[in-house]
Symmetry: C2
Subunit: 350 residues, 2 copies
């Protein structure tokens, strides 16, 4: 239910803004040979792939921006089909408390994204010194509003409020963030289906699907075990029959374990933590981290990098998401998809 689903939310998890001696990244689309290599290469451990043998070789770029665009187009078509068929427009309500600049930006982006696909967006802006009861009242109103199919409470909330109490007030049928423990429990259990899958991990798996990356029977390593990305990503990979290991801050040999993975999903918020040496030749890398590092050449004084050292990784992996332009755009596309799914479910529209 929380809405820490935008990229710079992760930036706040990184302990320090570090300056690393990275050269400019190369996003060459060696789509032909690299992709061919990857799809044919079902046992990457047996053969050293081309990408690992030459320094010029470069992993295929998993273009989240373009996939997200494609998904938004699909959503636009579905929204319009539903509107025509039953006269219902999906609605997303966002509750913003206080006047944090970053939170205001996220909310604005969500509204814009809704508009771009034809989803109605509603907003409640409450003052920083509002009472918890006032927030709860707004949630209750949205819960009862038939034009609302998804409700997000923008985090963080002011410190005088009980976050868990407020998030639990969102009706589970409207919890498009998918963070309710009931949803997470269903995600973990075989034979159960969650009402909503959390947006960022759902976006990671969607990228794997759209690029035809096989998951079943593959070794997958998830780096990070947060409630909003790492843990649900591991549960999703397991639902798809991957053999999953979760690496975290208490893991004594993260490099050794990560090197066994056919698929790596990293979500820790540590710039360039995953080096080339951590990666098995031919692995596929989904980099969720979006971390600011100092960059005097940038107009803002910093630029964004992932958890994975892209320059090194792209020489070893068969495919990798860039940062930005990888997982980031997928998160909001999945939020729109969850809102659409919610409206379709509530109105029994297929």
């Amino acid at each position: 239910m929380a809405s820490s689903i935008f990229f710079t939310d992760y930036a706040s998890h990184s302990t320090a803004v570090r300056l690393l001696p990275l050269r400019r990244r190369h996003h060459h689309h060696h789509v032909g040979p690299t992709f061919r290599h990857f799809t044919l290469h079902s046992s990457p451990s047996l053969v050293v792939p081309v990408a690992a043998m030459t320094t010029k070789a470069s992993a295929m770029v998993i273009d989240g921006k373009s996939v997200a665009k494609q998904i938004r187009d699909e959503i636009t078509a579905e929204v319009s089909r539903m509107k025509e068929a039953i006269g219902v427009t999906p609605g997303l309500a966002v509750i913003l408390v206080g006047d944090r600049k970053d939170s205001a930006t996220y909310v604005r982006n969500k509204k814009k994204a809704c508009e771009s696909v034809g989803i109605n967006s509603l907003e409640a802006n409450l003052a920083e010194d509002s009472t918890e009861q006032e927030v709860l009242n707004h949630i209750a109103d949205f819960n009862d509003d038939p034009s609302v199919h998804g409700i997000l409470v923008q985090l963080p909330l002011p410190s005088h409020m009980d976050e868990q109490n407020i998030l639990n007030a969102v009706r589970i049928e409207n919890d498009v963030d998918g963070f309710h423990p009931l949803n997470i429990g269903r995600l973990a259990m075989r034979g159960r289906e969650p009402l909503f899958v959390p947006c960022t991990p759902k976006g990671c798996i969607e990228l794997l699907h759209r690029y035809g990356v096989p998951i079943k029977g593959k070794r997958a390593v998830v780096i990070g075990r947060s409630n909003i990305v790492g843990m649900p990503a591991a549960l999703l990979l397991q639902r798809e029959d991957a053999t999953v290991s979760i690496v975290h801050s208490k893991t004594s040999n993260p490099e050794e374990i990560t090197r066994q993975a056919d698929i790596i999903i990293s979500a820790v918020g540590q710039p360039n933590m995953v080096r080339g040496s951590w990666i098995k030749p031919g692995a596929v890398i989904i980099d969720v981290g979006i971390n600011p590092v100092e960059d005097p050449n940038s107009p803002r004084g910093y630029r964004l990098v992932g958890d994975v050292c892209y320059e090194e990784a792209s020489k070893v992996a068969s495919a990798i998401t860039p940062v930005p332009g990888g997982v980031g755009p997928m998160t909001i596309a999945m939020l729109l998809q969850n809102t659409l799914l919610s409206a379709m479910r509530i109105h029994n529209f297929e």
Copy 2:
């Protein structure tokens, strides 16, 4: 909420009763040297332990029967303390539908175990041809009965009933089996606490704790991903900061992955599947499987073995649970503990 928590429940998962050429197992308690070796040996991969170098060496036996006895004694003391202080006796209600012999045995064992620690046991026995509504009515009665703190529905239910519907009717505060998705979700999430931890995986971790096995930072492999054992066991190990991998039927190299583990929890229901070669020298093994194999020398025509080939494993591991007498007795002890905890929580007694 289901109650498939007794050993022979697992037997039903095994695809075939196989006869394996096993000699009699040796449960020698080499407690002195083996245990000393184990506790000192925090990095078992660096040194080949004594146990692996000699054929005579034998892993310490993790005596679940004795630990369960100790826990039942602790529960007895707590139950009596609560009775004296506030006049409340914990109560466990079991609902049995139909007349399956095995189910009747489990229910009888649960009743006996309750009696032995001073917990009240209530029972509802319904005919095989009862309606779903009749079962729901009994659950509703138990939900409203202030003398009931835990409710179990003995599985399997007759095929004309919707199991999920019935299990969901048990109030979460009474779900001493801990299988409700809301509980599983809380188990998976950092910063959340489940109301109840499922009995069998809780028993596994309790054995590790009582034998002083370090978990934090260790590699743990869980074999099997069932809702009632494997999956919650993995979540519990992760809560204790182990680095967890889950191996299952779709895993392509289970032996290789299992051999990396400092701690192995196996719950698949395949007799003797985990061989000595799967085990890292010095690993600790918790064997949840209880599988019948043909044995003409046994009066019943079969005997019970674990998922782990005990004879081979005990030469490599530093500690191992026997079958029977390992995890089995712990499950019912944890059920009693959950019932006690429920009564203490409901009555705010510490």
